[in-house]
């Protein structure tokens, strides 16, 4: 039987130290994105879609990430649509076993002059749901567990509000207009991020879906790097940038933004990613979702955890929001594997 060394830090201390690239008692297990599953929903009677819209259910479901799975953090903003809902996008709320989405084929903005952040943006029920849930979680968890909020970046808001194709075409055809659009939309990112900090969030995930398949590293440099630097300056908690897909070509730029961490996809190997960021930003990740966590077993999960630990990744977790049907045993294996890895090195 493996003897695990005593843990000397609280989960919250561990996550914050990891984000600051400071020493930890063991590697943090962290979820910058959702670890909600349909079975966890049943456990606390907090099913989708209502768990995305009711703060008590949102908080209850988020809490299972720590109480059931053993993660060092909780992250209540399961989806990526809260802001877009508040901005007036048409929503597809779906059912318990599927994600709510924005109807991007019904865009609400056509031109940059259409961009408008409502005066009561933060009071929208889908925004209040998040801030109220964070208040509840902070009250329940005290100083023991890290609470990670989430605020969508302007590139993602552009996709949601303009539609993917129109927004990408604008970025190709009119650089000045695109930059103006991003400049105007960034205020939504700042407002929602600050509201979550005020509610008690210890860190914020900032997804900005300039994904490698459609957006080059040059585009990241041209359109987003300076904005991300500004976010890191204006939001007073550690920020975790999340971009899906193969992004090792832009990790060097991301490492220069001043953000605390980059949440990276399994399409990037842990060792190559650590080399790309060269100690200038923490990495969180990158256990594969659709093949490993969803479709394989604990042995395969453990192998990926070990690959990350051996590369020196500062916090371990799934690469993105996990599939809602992910088996619980694969998620608890992440924590077990981290503890066993450290135990083996302590002796």
């Amino acid at each position: 039987m493996t003897t695990h060394p005593a843990e000397t830090m609280s989960s919250r201390e561990r996550v914050i130290a990891a984000l600051r690239r400071q020493p930890v008692d063991r590697t943090a297990v962290c979820n910058p994105t959702s670890v909600a599953t349909v079975e966890l929903m049943d456990m606390v009677e907090a099913p989708f879609p209502v768990a995305n819209r009711d703060p008590e259910l949102m908080a209850a479901l988020a809490l299972t990430g720590h109480t059931e799975l053993g993660f060092d953090s909780v992250m209540p903003v399961f989806s990526i649509i809260q802001e877009s809902s508040a901005l007036g996008c048409n929503m597809q709320w779906e059912q318990k076993d599927n994600w709510p989405t924005v109807r991007m084929r019904e865009p609400i903005w056509k031109d940059v002059d259409d961009i408008r952040i409502p005066n009561d943006f933060l009071a929208h029920p889908d925004m209040r749901c998040v801030t109220d849930a964070i208040v509840m979680l902070r009250r329940q968890l005290g100083d023991e567990v890290a609470i990670i909020g989430k605020t969508m970046g302007p590139w993602t808001l552009g996709y949601h509000c303009f539609g993917v194709e129109p927004f990408l075409l604008m970025s190709l055809d009119d650089q000045a207009k695109t930059k103006l659009a991003l400049e105007r939309m960034k205020e939504a990112t700042i407002l929602f991020g600050q509201a979550q900090i005020d509610a008690g969030a210890d860190a914020l995930t900032l997804p900005d879906h300039a994904t490698g398949d459609l957006v080059s590293a040059d585009y990241y440099l041209r359109y987003l790097k300076d904005l991300h630097i500004e976010f890191a300056e204006r939001l007073s908690v550690p920020l975790i940038l999340h971009i899906c897909g193969r992004t090792v070509d832009r990790m060097g730029y991301i490492a220069e933004t001043g953000m605390a961490a980059f949440h990276f996809d399994s399409k990037n190997k842990p060792a190559e990613s650590m080399e790309a960021v060269d100690g200038r930003i923490a990495l969180i990740g990158n256990i594969n979702n659709p093949e490993t966590l969803f479709a394989k077993g604990p042995e395969e999960v453990r192998a990926e955890v070990y690959a990350n630990l051996e590369a020196g990744v500062q916090a371990i977790g799934p690469e993105c929001a996990i599939p809602l049907q992910t088996p619980i045993e694969n998620l608890t294996e992440i924590v077990r594997a981290v503890r066993d890895w450290h135990a083996a090195r302590a002796h």
Binding site: Q95, K96, D97, N98, R105, Y159, L168, H209
Partner: protein, 213 residues
Amino acid sequence: MAQIAELGRRIELVSMDPHCHDITIGLYRDVADQAVEFTAFSYSRREGAVERVGFVNQAMKVLGGLEASPDAPDRLRFPCGQDHRRAVQRLFMDACKIASSTPLEPRAMNIFDKKSQLTMIATSEGGGRYRVTSDGTGPEAERRIDAVTRGLVRLAELESLETGAASFPCGYTHDRLVGLLLKRALNVRVAMREAEAAAARGIMAAPSQQQAP
């Protein structure tokens, strides 16, 4: 406080049971006394959830020939003690499709095939071996016999023998299971697509990857 149940590895999931408040029911696999055992389980504490899972268990026994484990009545096993993974996954999903008020009886080992307008018949020849025949003759009958046999092979991971014959590797008779799978074997592609579609739900896509609703 952790509520996670130690049930083995989850091998199938019905994420929303329409017959019981959309509860999620999982099928778990474990090994006990060298026999593979299966447990249907739900984390839901909603009214009726326990009874519903009990019905699913009973349906798996009646439709698939599973038996209760001698040490734990909630755990089920095939008489052969083997895995029959793909077949038990299908059995579980089909059991969850039945309303709890439905009387349960084993499926017949023959079924009307709309494509050929013939009746397809599965007959046990002992030792886990099954032969598929029809009540007609001719090229169409032979084509459909071959297709249904291949369907059974795929659905239950059988070993193909000569045309129209296949066997369970364990060498045991599994009449109830064959009766259940016969309907799916008529169009195995539909069955596979259904399983793939169910598995694809709940995977978040980046905005640029989303299919338009």
